[in-house]
Amino acid sequence: LRGAYAMRSSFVSQVPIAQTSEDKIQIFIILVEYIIYLEKQLKHKESDNTSSIRLARDKMMVRFFEQIIDGMVYELYLSEELHKGDRYFYKYVCNENLPKLESIKGDKMPDLRQIFEKLFDINHPIRKNIFFLDSLEAIRIIQGKA
């Protein structure tokens, strides 16, 4: 790979790992489980006759859950910057009391779609905070937009 950087453990191991509470870790786990489950489901759906609009919406669902995790990671490392700009993720995700994947019985897709549609509502603070996240200078620098 010409011009690419090699990833060396000696450098990566110097990146600090943020410590957080067990409650917050649980939220990460719940969302990651949603994403893994959805990815598996979508692999099957791409080959069958699922309508492209439904499939696009489902892919958006996966992407949106990833964006929530991204937001929570930013909040973990840059809480001061985010809170100064009135951007919060944890408290809004906590308020939702997201169910664990294993507690959703039967076909999990309808329930996950319902959760997604609620969080993805244009007036929901999580959606707003994701949309306006890069108004913060620190985020724009990380995302290469500054």
Binding site: M60, F120, I130, F131, F132, S135, L136, E137, K145
Partner: protein
């Protein structure tokens, strides 16, 4: 938040300083006037002001051409949450750039600036198909700065990325052959 006052000095068509007061409540503003009276300049004043930090615009590039650089100039936007809240004023000039505030950057992301040049393209026919290319108008004008929820970047940026990732066929050779009449064996 609403804009309650716009102050302009030596910006594009505005020679000297002007102030537009929209009252404490930030009333709606309808602008009309003859050609060259400065309607577009006011439109661009707001558009450039909101995007000046993200796009790194230089105020001097938009100064009125008849003023000396030393005369200075500015754009000031005053905002208020409601009639009783505190007035916040932001300035963009050659020496001051307060447009990196989160409030201005949020406003830039949700502002909808569409000018007549973009809309005029709804009348332009494509040379090959004799029809209007709605897709181009949407991606490059109407939705150009709208954010794609999937990628979190603007539609124009997304479209550029797609375009650059498509392998390009080398079209130089066939056109040389077309205009010179030379056959493949000469190349």
């Amino acid at each position: 938040m609403k804009i309650t006052k716009i102050d302009i000095k030596n910006f594009r068509a505005f020679y000297g300083d002007y102030s537009i007061d929209l009252c404490k409540s930030g009333k709606n503003l309808l602008v009309y006037g003859e050609n060259g009276s400065g309607k577009s300049s006011l439109f661009f004043a707001l558009k450039l002001f909101l995007n000046s930090h993200v796009n790194n615009y230089n105020f001097l590039d938009y100064c009125n051409i008849f003023v000396e650089t030393t005369d200075g100039g500015y754009l000031k936007l005053s905002l208020r949450e409601n009639e009783y809240s505190k007035l916040i004023t932001y300035e963009w000039s050659n020496t001051t750039k307060e447009t990196n505030d989160i409030l201005i950057l949020d406003a830039a992301k949700t502002s909808g600036f569409v000018d007549y040049k973009g809309l005029l393209k709804t009348y332009f026919l494509t040379p090959e198909g004799n029809r209007v290319n709605i897709f181009d108008i949407l991606i490059n004008n109407l939705l150009a700065h709208s954010i794609n929820s999937y990628t979190q970047t603007s539609f124009t940026e997304d479209w550029d990325k797609i375009n650059t990732s498509i392998p390009k066929r080398n079209t130089a050779l066939p056109s040389v052959m077309r205009y010179t009449g030379l056959k493949y064996k000469y190349f």
